[in-house]
Symmetry: C2
Subunit: 250 residues, 2 copies
């Protein structure tokens, strides 16, 4: 826990004081061994970063007084469209996605996704939220990825998300074909990117045609076929570096 993430509703009316009583308090006491006067890194969910000074350590919890930075971190510039992976894989993926940084996550069905995967508890909003916040506390960001679940890829792609796509590079990961990212990346300087990662077994020809119709360029990171969680992390990391690099040379 490299940054304690607080929710706006937890703060006292002054917007500064908070009494922590849960796992975060336990972390402050037992891992960081804080004493009154000490400061720790805090962040307001979807709000600014800050520092929290330990005011009191009581039986019921730890009282922090926070000072907030004036600016709020930007929303990560990469979004992810992910064919629902096996629940066991997705369970571990949420925190890692939040840690690497992703603005939106569209979870979608696909022809090679097993239907019963949609019954999993790892798609429950409360579960997802907990894991995403865990990732934010690891990486130090405050921007909670927005997650939505879609039962039909075609409906998602044809839906009304055009406003979100402006200035957004659309990419579909496809190991067997497409342009290698290292050839494609240096030619483009997008504001945002939306990356589609397929299920185990990959996208079908029909799905790839749908993506093409909706302006997605087919890309790969070499000839290796990665498991969908590895592919998400590898491609998100490459895209973030690319966005940073583009911004610097622009």
């Amino acid at each position: 826990m490299n940054r304690i993430i607080l929710e706006p509703k937890e703060l006292e009316a002054d917007g500064c004081e908070v009494l922590l009583t849960d796992a975060r308090a336990a972390h402050l006491r037992r891992v960081l061994n804080v004493v009154p006067g000490q400061t720790v890194r805090v962040g307001l969910l979807d709000g600014p970063l800050g520092v929290g000074e330990v005011v009191r350590i009581e039986a019921e919890g730890v009282l922090l007084r926070c000072r907030w930075e004036p600016v709020v971190p930007e929303v990560p510039r990469v979004d992810l469209l992910l064919a629902l992976p096996r629940p066991k894989v997705l369970k571990r993926l949420w925190a890692q996605l939040a840690a690497l940084g992703v603005g939106r996550v569209y979870i979608t069905n696909a022809e090679r996704v097993e239907r019963n995967y949609f019954d999993t508890h790892v798609l429950k909003e409360s579960f997802i939220r907990g894991r995403l916040i865990e990732g934010l506390q690891q990486c130090g960001d405050t921007r909670l990825p927005r997650v939505s679940v879609h039962r039909r890829l075609k409906v998602l792609l044809e839906g009304d998300w055009s406003a979100e796509k402006e200035g957004c590079e659309r990419l579909v990961a496809h190991p067997a074909g497409g342009v290698c990212l290292s050839e494609y990346i240096p030619l483009r300087h997008p504001e945002r990117a939306l990356l589609a990662v397929g299920p185990e077994g990959g996208w079908t020809e029909y799905e790839l045609a749908l993506f093409e119709k909706h302006g997605f360029a087919s890309v790969s990171a070499g000839e290796r076929i990665l498991r969908s969680d590895t592919a998400c992390l590898a491609l998100l990391a490459i895209l973030h570096e690319w966005m940073n690099f583009s911004t610097k040379i622009a």
Copy 2:
């Protein structure tokens, strides 16, 4: 299992026929539902890629006849020096490292590694080998990463590995400081890279000084603090893209 990996000792004297009787045979029969005459992707461990034709399906196994490509895949151009992570994390990491591609893995102790981590079965050679081959079968490569375990970082860094370091860019990942990879990468065109990733809690000042003394440049992929497994995968992916890009523009 996107490619069936065979070990040289499994092949008949002609170097082409192999009778599979284990999980690979089960995969061919039950997942791929192969029939005689059908071909599947095969690879010889540390050797060439190839195709295997199903000759017979018998009670005791599946008989393949393989044709091998003339060239052997190159060893991945990135090596990893990794402070021993929690066993639970390392257990899942082996296959992912092999899938992303890594030439050598040096597992090392560090000040912030808990000593009892070294007792884990996930450092046993047979365990590691099984997981690495699983990763190769996923990604389709045949090059088995070479793994060694080191109890003292200082001894490792001062040891006789100079021959392996020629033309090799040495990098130590350090989220708090160092140059951002996206600024550093475009300036360099190395043959190989060696990436050092620290434990939870990071490298100590003493360790960072040791790395600096041994020619490691301190780099980060942004301000986010990643868990050590996420950091490995993210940085390996970025480095591979970099090497590919460098090779193309060279």
